[in-house]
């Protein structure tokens, strides 16, 4: 039998506390009435009210959402196709290059990904803005999608596909009516990850953005570089709240539907 020692419990409790305390403190401070962030001036929702009137932040949030929606969807399509190719095609010419291009962006520092994207757009004289950020985010996120979908495809019962093919279904038909429905949980998890990655990205967006396409992280970053601000505490708290609810809902959903595809990073 497993025995849980006091030390085990202590390690878990301290670990979870370390992960959550900073976020809790941030949320508490967002309700601080005092403009001086460090001085507690009682509870207040004034920073949230001020936020509602801050057109710049709202616009940045709107741009970030649109970028994340488009790039997550594109990355999911591209990444799923790549995963199918990697798992189902066996060995083919150029596989090593293909696999390297899938895995390299996973560990590539964002600064370099951003720099290389920018240099590409400059070399081909593409005006930077909304669409260049989307291209960059799609490229970054599709590799994560591939890894997640691939891990689901690997422990997938091949005989189901073979049966469909034996009965005369074309490879495309087999994919659409047999494979796809079975890997949908993994694809959904991958889409969510791609969405979160895009929404969160500061570095790559900074390199590839242009006038009129300032995303929320860029706006937050330029606001906090010189110190903390109460309005930003409020923005961040909303963000954390939305993400927290979404992820909890998704994991509950996954549990209810009994899906095995967990939104794990690995």
């Amino acid at each position: 039998m497993r025995k849980v020692s006091a030390f085990n419990i202590l390690a878990i409790v301290l670990g979870i506390a370390f992960l959550y305390l900073p976020i809790v403190i941030l949320v508490i401070y967002s309700f601080n009435a005092s403009r001086l962030v460090a001085v507690w001036g009682g509870w207040s929702t004034q920073w949230y009210a001020e936020l509602a009137g801050d057109a710049e932040i709202l616009q940045a949030a709107f741009i970030s959402l649109r970028v994340a929606l488009v790039s997550a969807s594109a990355a999911t399509v591209l990444g799923t196709l790549a995963a199918v190719a990697l798992v189902r095609l066996g060995r083919f010419r150029g596989r090593l290059l293909f696999a390297s291009m899938i895995y390299a962006p996973l560990v590539m520092p964002e600064v370099i990904t951003g720099l290389s994207m920018l240099l590409l757009f400059v070399a081909f004289a593409v005006d930077r803005g909304f669409w260049t950020v989307i291209i960059a985010h799609t490229t970054m996120a599709m590799c994560f999608v591939t890894v997640i979908v691939q891990s689901r495809l690997v422990d997938f019962d091949m005989s189901l596909e073979e049966a469909a093919m034996d009965l005369g279904a074309s490879p495309l038909r087999t994919f659409l009516s047999v494979t796809l429905p079975l890997i949908v949980p993994a694809i959904a998890a991958a889409w969510m990850l791609a969405f979160a990655l895009s929404l969160d990205d500061l570095v790559i967006a900074s390199f590839t953005t242009g006038p009129g396409a300032t995303t929320l992280p860029i706006r937050i970053y330029s606001a906090v570089r010189l110190g903390v601000k109460p309005e930003i505490n409020a923005v961040c708290s909303i963000f954390v709240g939305v993400v927290g609810v979404a992820v909890l809902a998704a994991s509950l959903l996954a549990k209810i539907s009994g899906a095995r595809g967990t939104p794990a990073r690995l």
Binding site: L10, A85, F92, P109, V111, T139, N233
Partner: protein, 302 residues
């Protein structure tokens, strides 16, 4: 074993992502490589030479003649770059070690709790990763500021008499990195520890092995794949980290990610920034290739 994709659909699953990655990953990187051999210029784009294909062979010859190793010589001669690389490696190595020391007991504890609780704990450990990286670093800016909650706590407990400075120090960078990367260390470790065969531990106990010795001789060696995965997942991205040192650390001794950013946005020296990036990639690719090589060797053996 199929050698070439057969059906139209199979060709498409390969060709579409392949083309995308070549256009938006491989080509951009080749451009970085090329610009790292170019020279800075006050023009648009701010580097020379620019490949002029309209001039035919003559254009390609002139282009090749214009390339030089100057940027790499600069990297070797200006100690700023060397110090920057060293600082990144040092911070990455130390913080990975700290992560391992903190992460192992957490993962170990998680693996020993009842199954039902484990699923909840995994979600709890993963959840912060989904909330923005930037926001989590910003949360620490709140905590670590001069009259922030940490200093107030320390003062209230009479640990210190004057509030210490945390922000713009290396300590703050370490705190930020350990905080941000903890899930990446805990989850791979947990994945291995959770599958650990309990009967091996029981066997050791039956044969009279003390618990600490069982841990040292059985648990740790068996969890080595998780340790390796966790170390790689943390070590490699930390070296190129930009946001954490930029917001929590000082600007006197930048990490390499900051140096690239400054060369690019501050000094507008695109060729130098490209050269720094190329060297960094080589630095990061080495352990990955080494790891792949080792993994392939152990696969062959088994």
């Amino acid at each position: 074993m199929k050698n070439q994709p057969g059906s139209l659909w199979q060709r498409f699953t390969l060709a579409f992502p392949y083309a995308w990655l070549v256009a938006f990953f491989l080509v951009p990187f080749l451009i970085v490589l090329k610009i790292s051999f170019s020279q800075g210029a006050i023009a648009l784009p701010p580097y020379r030479p620019v490949l002029d294909l309209t001039a035919g062979w003559r254009g390609i010859e002139m282009f090749l003649a214009g390339l030089s190793l100057d940027n790499y010589r600069l990297l070797g001669s200006d100690s700023l770059y060397l110090l920057s690389y060293l600082k990144s490696l040092q911070i990455a190595a130390f913080s990975t070690l700290i992560l391992l020391i903190i992460g192992y007991p957490i993962a170990y504890g998680m693996a020993r709790t009842p199954r039902r609780l484990q699923a909840v704990l995994v979600v709890l450990v993963m959840l912060p990763f989904w909330t923005s990286f930037l926001i989590r670093i910003y949360a620490w800016m709140n905590i670590l500021q001069r009259d922030g909650p940490l200093n107030e706590l320390l003062m209230a407990l009479h640990v210190v008499s004057t509030p210490p400075v945390w922000l713009a120090t290396d300590t703050a960078i370490y705190i930020g990195i350990v905080y941000s990367y903890l899930p990446f260390m805990v989850l791979p470790l947990y994945a291995v520890l959770e599958k650990l065969d309990e009967s091996l531990l029981e066997a050791a106990a039956d044969l009279g092995c003390p618990r600490w010795k069982t841990f040292w001789l059985v648990t740790i060696p068996l969890s080595s794949p998780g340790v390796l995965a966790g170390v790689l997942l943390c070590l490699i991205p930390i070296v190129g980290e930009f946001v954490i040192p930029d917001l929590l650390g000082g600007s006197r001794a930048p990490m390499i990610g900051q140096t690239i950013w400054m060369e690019f946005f501050g000094n507008k020296d695109w060729p130098a920034a490209s050269a720094v990036a190329v060297v960094l990639v080589c630095l990061l690719v080495t352990p990955i290739v080494l790891f792949q090589h080792l993994a392939m060797r152990s696969e062959e053996r088994s």
